[in-house]
Amino acid sequence: MSAHLSYGRVNLNILREAARKDLREFLDKCAGSKAIVWDEYLTGPFGLIAQYSLLKEHEVEKMFTLKGGRLPTADVKNIIFFVRPKLELMDIIAENVISADKMHSPRDFHILFVPRRSMLCEQRLKEQGVLGSFINIDEYILDLIPYDSDLLSMESEGAFRECYLESDQTSLYHTAKGLMTLQALYGTIPQIFGKGECARHVANMMLRMKREFAGSQTQILPVFDSLLLLDRNIDLLTPLATQLTYEGLIDEVYGITNGYVKLPPEKFAAQKKQGEAGKDLPTEPKKMQLNSAEELYAEIRDKNFNGVGAALSKKAKIISAAFEERHNAKTVGEIKQFVSQLPHMQAARSSLANHTSIAELIKDITTSEAFFDNLTVEQEFMTGVDTDKVNAYIEDCIAQRDPLIKILRLVSMQSVCNNGLKQKVFDYYRREILQTYGYEHMLTLNNLEKTGLLKPQTSTRNNYPTIRKTLKLWMEDANEQNPNDISYVYSGYAPLSIRLAQVLARPGWRSIEEVLKMLPGPHFEERQQLPAGLHKKRQQGENRTTLVFFLGGVTYAEIAALRFLSQMEDGGTEYIIATTKLINGTSWIKSLMDRPEAQTL
């Protein structure tokens, strides 16, 4: 279930195991049979740490979703609430407990706060008069969750919004705490680099926490050589662009949540056994887990989508050749060997079939005119063509009432690539949006303006072309099949965030001081003293390991670009990626939208 986590450069399974241990310890604290009442948001991330079987081993017999009113009946001794520390959830819990108390059922209540307990919430429970009903009030420190052998996420949905819109730095505190946990398991990270206000804040907290923990340091040889903290708002452009890697497109089109994607079932119907062919087409979406445990997926997920077809057909040939081998198997020994490989081959074949279906589904979309037109406009913006005028394509899209998020993505992109829109253009777009989609979206537009995504030009100078040229953000001759540069992930556009990581590794940020100054927030470098005797002696040719932490979210295409850099032969650096949330343009813009629920008049 989690073996793939340990195959990477850094064994992230250690982190998972630590998390599982904590969970078991808590469950054992509540002796007897248990029912868990879940804050719905937590079930996804928890699934990556522990399956139901683990819970079952510790006498968890029932699971419910947290909702108001009375608790469902369950013949158990303990009721455990697994919740985020949110006030509105406390009110629901109080309601549950009070109604259960009225029934006089002799049950023990417990609360497990994820990722941290909160005095504010406990105060609220106290006000509601139920605090005393809880036998255990505990916290389950789950900050960074391993998603893959090189990927950690906090899956904190509102992180970007809270940090950049609401100046609520709670998630940054959790980030710093999570990084401390990571250092406790993998050793102190000797170097910290960063760019942006939030990055600075996190680094400050980490250094402060290190002082606080002084004396209880673990003596572990550092696994990471450096940490790079990047604010999302230094690179607002990248998430807005349509990702063009296989995994990126799956996410753009169907959305990947907690490592799972739900796909329309029609394409997969044919794979059912022949005997069942007569039955109706499945109506439930097909749910698939996507991670490096699947060999084929690990191979193709980071490829540009235009290179996926070739990879799949190559794979198909290899597999059918492998099956052909059976004709060559003559001796009993040979046959036995062939048979022993069968399960692996069959798995490979079904995996191939699945991905061929997914690729077909996606191809239908990428070859559509609408997709092409949209991409053309994106690329025009990224290369700086006519970013200061009202764009006719966007106008048409609004007139045809295309989905609002699509419009907001495009307009924001134009604004970012033009370092803000001319007041006239800005007002025109806003007016069009309000008239077409409703005036209530003024609040959303406000939010976008506040976060710098969609804003009027304040200075006459547009920095974007300088940044683009210096960092080589646009590569004319991006090779999609056999890439030689990270720009392949967006078929020409090299993500700014990843360029920063790349330049940092070689030749260093000093070479791009000018550009760094144009991007918001400070850039910095800190060193953390290692305990004596823990200085790593690097072997000749051994790669450095860098943890890149994206504060406010990262896209799959950016991850692909970092993986590409890790695999470069003369790269010299391998990357582990961490973030507050895995995002794409759509989910990101969505998180910034304000939709007052209008009462019907």
Binding site: L120, Q169, G215, A598, Q599, L601
Partner: protein, 835 residues
Amino acid sequence: MAFITANWNPLGDAFYRKIELYDMGWSLRDGLKDCMVAAAPYGGPIALLRQSQRPSPSARPQLEIYSSSGVSMASFPWKSGPVRQLGWTVCDDLLAIQEDGTVLIYDLFGTFKRHFSMGNEVVQNQVLEAKVFHSPYGTGVAIVTGASRFTLAMNIDDLKLRRLPEVPGLQGAPSCWAVLTQDRQTKVLLANGADLYILDNTSCTPVTPPGLSPQACSIINMAVSFSYKYLALFTDSGHLWMGSTNLKDKLSEVETKVRSAPKQMVWSRRPKSQQPSVVLMWDRLLLVAGVCKETIQYTLDEECVCVAELDGVRIVGASRHEMLQEVPSACEDIFKIASMAPGALLLEAHKEYEKCSQKADEYLREIKEQSVLGEAVKQCVEAAGYEHEPETQKTLLRAASFGKCFLSNFPPEPFVSMCRDLRVLNSVRDYSVGIPLTHTQYKQMTVQVLIDRLVYRKLYPLAIEICRYLKTPEYQGVSRVLKHWACCKVQQKEEPDESIARAVSVKLGEAAGISYSEIAARAYECGRTELAIKLLEFEPRSGEQVPLLLKMKRSQLGLSKAIESGDTDLVYTVVTYLKNEMNRGDFFMTLRNQPVALSLYRQFCKHQEQETLKDLFNQDDDHHELGNFYVRASYKESKLEARLSLLQSAVDEYNKAKNEFAAKATEEEMKLLRFQRRLDEEKGEALLGLSLHDTLHALLSANYHKQAEQLYRDFRVPDKRYWWLKLTALAEKEDWDELEKFAKSKKSPIGYLPFVEVCVKRHNKYEAKKYVSKVTPEQKVKAHLAIGDLEGAAEAAIERRSEGEISTVLARCSPTTDRALLERLNRARSTAAKK
């Protein structure tokens, strides 16, 4: 080495020995006569309450506290009421139980800490007798009152008084009694004449010890062992009965031939004891009565007190302090005369080796032949632990070390840790420290507790030395000691704040994991708020500073510290505190100076207290946010008038904020709402709440073209969008005539390709064709393709000589049916390519 066994006395098949621990450093004029004495186990301190020499009522008794070696630690006249009993708690605090039931608690240096009462009824009836006892729950106190009622306090740190049921027929105090802890329950065992009772929470049960000699008329003393497992009863017939405390088994009964009541009676056992015994003390006689029915008698030349220990009995006298215990088997094996035990041989071998005699080899061979060298080393190491004299320890350890040389795979750990333990023990047994711990006691007590005890005695340097020597992790070792030192330092009233703060920071600066907030809390308890604040400055964990700062009413500082920590929950906590503490104006002002707290509080209000949010924006004159606030609020209204009035407020705020765009947009919104209502009333359409775009669409669909036109003009909808809108609406209801009219009304700002596409989308190729001719040349190919007219598309593409467009058409041609077309196109492409 013969002298080692000089103080051994046989008892059954074991030996007992009496070791001198100290020559007492105190000088007591009258010895321990007329003294109330309490000595704590584990080599703890000794308290004496001495009656004054002059028997005048005004004369006060003197309370004195000494270490086990008789070094004075405190002495002061007793000014409180008459004391019934003294006792020590597990943390080396002195308990003085007064006649009126008040229990006073003093620390080791005689500083009063606190007091509590054993209940109101005691005040009247008075305490007749009292006992201090230790259990897994802590230190407890038991009393019996003048009304012959028992009251128990299980744990003095978590005081819950339990009044036990009445004992039938008991008048005054019982003849003897003891407290037992059994099955996690605390009970009282008492004797009234010849009757024995067990008293627990609910009942009083008469019990009979099995096999108690019938001659006795009264049980006059009793003793419970250190572990509460064994009981000894002494009767007025001079019989000593020994058995288990559950009164099921009898171990033995000894006739002592002394009929008077012993002054003290205690068990002497050790873990793995072969011959447990009870030590009885009379005025001049100390009697050790073993289970084997044999006895040892010692004459006492002075008044003494016995202290029960885990592995023996200490005997404290005015001049000497001795330890009486069963000789551990390891020591017995090695030192017993003519012993041939492996350890004894090894010791002998080593002795010869030191003398450079070849006999060493002989002895060693003998041990090796029996292959017991490993055991020999183990024995020597173990025995070293039981010996009090460093010289003897050294001899044994040297022998062990010598033996180890001839073993290949012997684990070094026991030897090394024994050396370490003994070094620590010898240093705390030193006269100046005066903690005569045995190795067994030390292991039971743990290093942590030993360090604590040293700290209570303010022996900070020694404690630190021990921590460093044992390599205890800093935060539980050195840092902890330093913290206690600092806590003690801040209580020195005569020193000014400044110099204490400096001294503390200098000394603690380097140590890791120091909790300055605990030190500060202590300073605050002593009323030194300023010092506490100074000390808190050194605390690296802001989280720890905050609660104390709040307690000290330094909430502003607390807020800054909470913000510094980055822990938003902590900030919220302080903010909530401030909110209740301050008046609203001050509260808002405070937040205004702390943007981080302010934005967090805004978040809180957004979800919890909308009205406060408004006040906050008002105070900051943040008209833009106020505008947003009203807009948000307006959507919650289900009545149009209310919504309009909120929107008007929003417009006013936006105007104040000079946000022209937002003001205008909101005005537009109001205009739209009013228009929609009018139309809804007039025509019965359900338009209210739709966006402008959707309203137009609905109007066009319902054939209200005039109204749509009006809206289009009033709201200055761009032509392009209006054309799209109308086009889509008409096509959707398939009003082809109207569409055609519309197309001809004037020149389309969006061209005519959309017309074609819209018709095709509605599967009406016939209508679509009408517009193909009007499409601009650039879009012709697309238009022809849209209606599936390959020929036309080919025509247009060839005419435009565009390679790309020709290819597009080519891709749509089928090689079988459109062969002629294919050829033409291919030709055209090659000519186009040539150019």
